[in-house]
Amino acid sequence: MNKLSGNKITPNEAVYILIGIMLDLNIVSIANALVPIAKQTSWISALLGGVYPLYVGILAVFVSRKYPKDNILTLSKNIFGNIIGNILNFLFLISLMIYFCAGLSEVTIISRTYVVPFLSSLKIYVSILLLAAYTASKGLKTVSRICFFNFIGLITLIIISLGILRNGSLLNVSPVFGVSLKKIIAASRDSAYDYALMETVFLIYPLIEDSKKIKTIVLKSTAFIVIVYTWITFISIYYLGIDIIPKTIWAFVEVSRDIEIKNITNLRYLVLFILLFISIKSMSILYYLSLLILDNIKKIKNKPIVIFLIGILVIYVCKNYFKTLHDRNEILEYAIPVITIYNLSYVSVISLVSLLKKDDIVGKKQKK
C-alpha cells in the first residue's frame, strides 16, 4: 500500500512504461508501412529503426547522470529562459497530442471495423478516454501497472503469433538480400513513427527510484521493442507475402485471424482485445504526460477540469481531423517528419547544451 502511494517508480516499472509508450497500435500496421519500400527485407529495416530510440535513450542516460532531479522541461526553461523554454515545451506537448489523437482514431477505426461496427466513433472515443483519464488521474504508479499488464499482453501476442509458423513459408521472406541497402535504410527511417516517443524518457527519469539504473532500463526496453517490431514485421511477411500486405490495412490483424490453435476458436477476438488494451494503455500514458507538461508550464490547480478539457479537445480533433483513415494518414504524412525532427533536435540540443555547460545551472538556481 505504501509503495503504491509513493511517487517514485521502480526500475522495472520504468521499463514497462517505456515499452508501453513506444509500442502502440502501430504494431498491427508496421508491416504495411515498410513493405512497399523494403519488400521482403522489411524486418531488417524494423531492426535498424531501433537506432533511433537507442540514440535518444543514451542521451537520456548522460543527462540523467548530470541532472538526476530535473526533467527536460525544467532544463529547457533553465537554458533558454522561461518564455522560450515554455514555448519549446509546449511544442513538445503538441507533438504528444498529435500522437494522442492519431492513436485514438486508429483504435477507433480498428475496433469499428473488426469488433463493434454498430457503435458510433464518438462512443468509442468517449469510452476509451474515460478509462484513460481515470488511469492518468491516478498517477504514474497506476499507469505503470497498466503498462505491466500490457507487457504481459504483448508476450501473449507474440506467443500466439508463433502459431502461424506452420502455415507460412520461408520462401516468402527470401531472397533475404534481394533489396538494395539504400531501400532498407529508407524504410527504417519510416519506422521512426513506430519508435517515436522514446523522448519521453526525459520526462520520467526524475521519477525513477534508482536513477543509476537508467542505462539498463533504456537498454532493456529498447531491446524488447526492437525484438517485438522485428518479429511482427517478419511474421507478417512470412505468412502473407509481400504481394498481399499492401492490400491489407492492418496486416497483423489478418495474420492473427488465420492462426489455428487447437481448441481455441475465436483467437482473433483475444488478439483484438489485447490490441485494444495496448491502445488504452498508450492513451493513459499520453494523457498522463500531457498533464505533466501542462503542470510544468503552469501549475494546475483543478485537475479534473483540465482532464476534462483535454478529453474534449482530443475528441474534437479526432472527430474533425482524424475521422477516417485517409484524413489520418494525410495529416500524419506531413506531421510525422516534422514532429520527429523537432523532437529529436529538441532533445539533442537541450541535452548537449546542458551536458557541455560546465557549471551546474540547475544546482545554482536551487541554491539561490
Binding site: 469499428r112 471495423t113 473488426y114 492490400k247 490495412i249 490483424v253 489478418e254 475521422k323 483513415l325 485517409h326
Partner: protein, 368 residues
C-alpha cells in the same frame, strides 16, 4: 413507513388480482398475429369486405401452429363481426405483428380501417402495415419454411428492412396514424408479393391521404427512400461494365430540407450527406491510399446520385403528382400549417433541388 408499505402491498395484491384473472390456459386461446384486409367484387356488382386473420394455436404437445380465418360482410364492421363469430375459442388481440392490406382495398381507401384501429385500445400501434398484391388471405396461407406463420415472416422482413435499400422503420401503425391526416405528410407502405422465390418485398405503395395511388418498384423506391427518410442505409453502385464497378454502402445522415419562396414560387432544397464504406471495388485503383482517387469517386458518386434523384423528382412531379417526399411538411413548418393549401399541388409545381455530399468513412479491412 409500515403503513404505506401495507398500502402498497394491498394495492399490488389488488392489481395482480385485477390482471391475473385474464389468464386462461394457453391451449384454450388463440393469439392473433396478423390482420388482413381485402375487398372483393361480387357478381351483383356490390363489394364484399373480407377480413382474414392469422393466429397461433397451441397444441397440447406444446407445438405451435398457425391458422387463418376469414370473415366477410358488406362493410368492415360487419365483416369483423362475422370473423369474430367464427372464433370458437377465447382470443387475444393486441399482440398482432402485421396488418396486411390488399392493393385493391388500399386503392379504395384505408380510412375506415385506420379509424377502427385508432379507436380500438387493444390495437398494437407498433405492428407493421404492408400492402400486398392479390388477397391478404392468400398471403396468410402461404407457408414459408422455418416460420410458424406468414405473419412472423413478414414481421421479420419488415424488421430487417432498414439494413438495405434505404428503407426506414416507419411503416408501423403509429406511423400511419401520424401521417395520414397530417399537413404535408403522406403515407408510404412497403409492398409485398409472392414471387417464385417466396414472399418478398417488391416496392413501395404511395398514398394520397388514405388512398393508394401507385406502386413503385424497388429501384425507384430506393431513391424515394433516400430522398425522404433520415438515417437510412443502402448500397449505391457505379458500374462501368460487367467487371468494373464499385459498391458503396451508404448511410444518409443529416438530411436537411429547406423551403423558401422566390418570386411567389415555392422552392425546395434537399441536402443529403452520404457517409459509408466501400464494400467492393474493382473500378478505382488505389482508392485506399490516394486521396485524389477517393475524391474523384466521391465526386462521381455525387453526380450519379444527384442524377438519379432528379430523374425521380421529375417523374414524381409530372406523373405521380403527389408529394411523396413529404416536402409539404417542411413548407408547412416554414409558412404555417393552418392555411388550407394543397401541398401535393404546390410541390408538383415547384422547383426542387437536390445536393448530395458523399464521404467515404471507412474502407473495410483492405482492398483486394
Amino acid at each position: 413507513m409500515k403503513r404505506y408499505l401495507i398500502i402498497i402491498t394491498i394495492l399490488l395484491t389488488y392489481m395482480f388480482y385485477l390482471y391475473g384473472n385474464t389468464r386462461v390456459p394457453i391451449e384454450e386461446v388463440d393469439i392473433i398475429v396478423g390482420f388482413g384486409y381485402d375487398v372483393m367484387d361480387k357478381s351483383n356488382g356490390q363489394i364484399q369486405y373480407s377480413v382474414p386473420f392469422n393466429s397461433y394455436i397451441f397444441k397440447p404437445n406444446e407445438e405451435k401452429l398457425s391458422v387463418t380465418k376469414t370473415g366477410r360482410g358488406k362493410n368492415l364492421t360487419e365483416a369483423e363481426q362475422d370473423r369474430d363469430s367464427k372464433v370458437e375459442r377465447k382470443y387475444i388481440s393486441g399482440l398482432e405483428m402485421v396488418y396486411v392490406i390488399s392493393e385493391k382495398y388500399a386503392k379504395m381507401g384505408i380510412k375506415d380501417l385506420i379509424d377502427e384501429r385508432f379507436r380500438n385500445t387493444e390495437a398494437n400501434d407498433m405492428a407493421y402495415v404492408v400492402v400486398c398484391k392479390g388477397n391478404s388471405e392468400d398471403i396468410f396461407s402461404f407457408q414459408e419454411l422455418g416460420y410458424i406463420s406468414t405473419s412472423d415472416y413478414i414481421y421479420g422482413l419488415m424488421k430487417n428492412i432498414d439494413g438495405y435499400n434505404f428503407f426506414s422503420q416507419n411503416y408501423k401503425l403509429i406511423d400511419v396514424f401520424v401521417r395520414m391526416d397530417s399537413k404535408g405528410r403522406q403515407v408510404l407502405l412497403p409492398y409485398i408479393e409472392i414471387s417464385k422465390n417466396g414472399l418478398n418485398l417488391t416496392g413501395l405503395a404511395l398514398f394520397n391521404k388514405d388512398k393508394m395511388v401507385k406502386k413503385i418498384d424497388i429501384k425507384e423506391a430506393r431513391i424515394l427512400n433516400l430522398l425522404r427518410e433520415d438515417n437510412v442505409k443502402g448500397v449505391l453502385s457505379i458500374r462501368k461494365d460487367n467487371k468494373k464497378y464499385i459498391d458503396f454502402y451508404a448511410k444518409s445522415k443529416n438530411r436537411k430540407v429547406k423551403c423558401y419562396k422566390e418570386n411567389g414560387k415555392y422552392k425546395f432544397d434537399i441536402n443529403l450527406t452520404l457517409t459509408g464504406e466501400i464494400i467492393s471495388n474493382t473500378l478505382y485503383e488505389d482508392i485506399l491510399s490516394s486521396k485524389d482517387v477517393k475524391e474523384k469517386f466521391e465526386k462521381d458518386m455525387k453526380q450519379q446520385v444527384e442524377n438519379m434523384c432528379n430523374e425521380f423528382i421529375n417523374k414524381m412531379q409530372y406523373q405521380y403528382k403527389i408529394d411523396c417526399l413529404e416536402l409539404g411538411r417542411y413548407g408547412a413548418a416554414e409558412f404555417g400549417r393552418l392555411k388550407n393549401v394543397d401541398w401535393n399541388e404546390i410541390v408538383s409545381n415547384s422547383e426542387i433541388k437536390v445536393n448530395v455530399k458523399v464521404m467515404v468513412e471507412s474502407e473495410g479491412r483492405g482492398d483486394y
